[in-house]
Symmetry: C2
Subunit: 142 residues, 2 copies
């Protein structure tokens, strides 16, 4: 299950992403109120997304957060790795967080690992292909 940090991050990015292309910068406070998220917790999350190169920000009056790249160029896999850690079910099948299992005798032979690999592949096929654009609500064409 995704943790709250991840759900908040996805909601926040979906919100911020709507304004990509405009000059609008989005305030942490604004998002927190919209989605009933603790402002301080959200600040920490946005900061992490910024430090990871997903968001840009500007301090002071008129400041706020904005997407650095078009929503369609930000895969969900990237976001989720930042906020939720490994996508894989076992560290020994993780691409970005690889660690051998504590008591593994042989990775090539481990049959549980095989299943974990299959799940990782199919999950990643989705999360690499889906982007922020896919989680931004479609605008009404008035």
């Amino acid at each position: 299950m995704w943790n709250k940090k991840t759900k908040y991050a996805l909601k926040a990015l979906s919100y911020i992403g709507r304004y990509f292309g405009s000059e609008r910068k989005v305030l942490a406070k604004e998002i927190a109120e919209q989605h009933q998220i603790s402002i301080k917790f959200l600040e920490a999350i946005l900061l992490e997304l910024r430090n990871a190169g997903i968001l840009g920000s500007r301090k002071g009056k008129g400041g706020g957060y904005y997407l650095l790249r078009p929503p369609a160029e930000v895969p969900l896999s990237k976001v989720i790795r930042i906020t939720d850690g490994p996508i894989s079910m076992l560290t020994c099948t993780s691409l970005f967080f690889y660690e051998p299992c504590a008591d593994c005798d042989s990775e090539p032979i481990c049959k549980i690992r095989e299943t974990s690999l299959a799940i990782r592949d199919s999950t990643l096929a989705i999360l690499d292909q889906k982007t922020l654009e896919d989680i931004i609500p479609v605008r009404e064409t008035a």
Copy 2:
């Protein structure tokens, strides 16, 4: 990521499954020593698997645990739901542990839910199809 309970359960079931068809009953102690698992923790896990209808058991001298059905008839999805809970990334897309999201406006419209659904479907396609037989090491044909 799967928790330790799940990894222990899969290892234990893989071990016990090898003896399906024979009269052999497997001791908790035996598995714990083989896999360096805390005996008491493992006992609790085996008990849960028993209460969920996956394992049978017999108390007292000559007792132990055994599979109730052939390994090929026990899907991994069933085991994992017992030890790890929901397979889905969001409760609102869970088949067995469904709960609406705390602050969800509309499930049919939620785009994050869509992604979670796709992941659940592809993961479940694997975990429903894979069984204990798939995680039992192949025996050498001497």
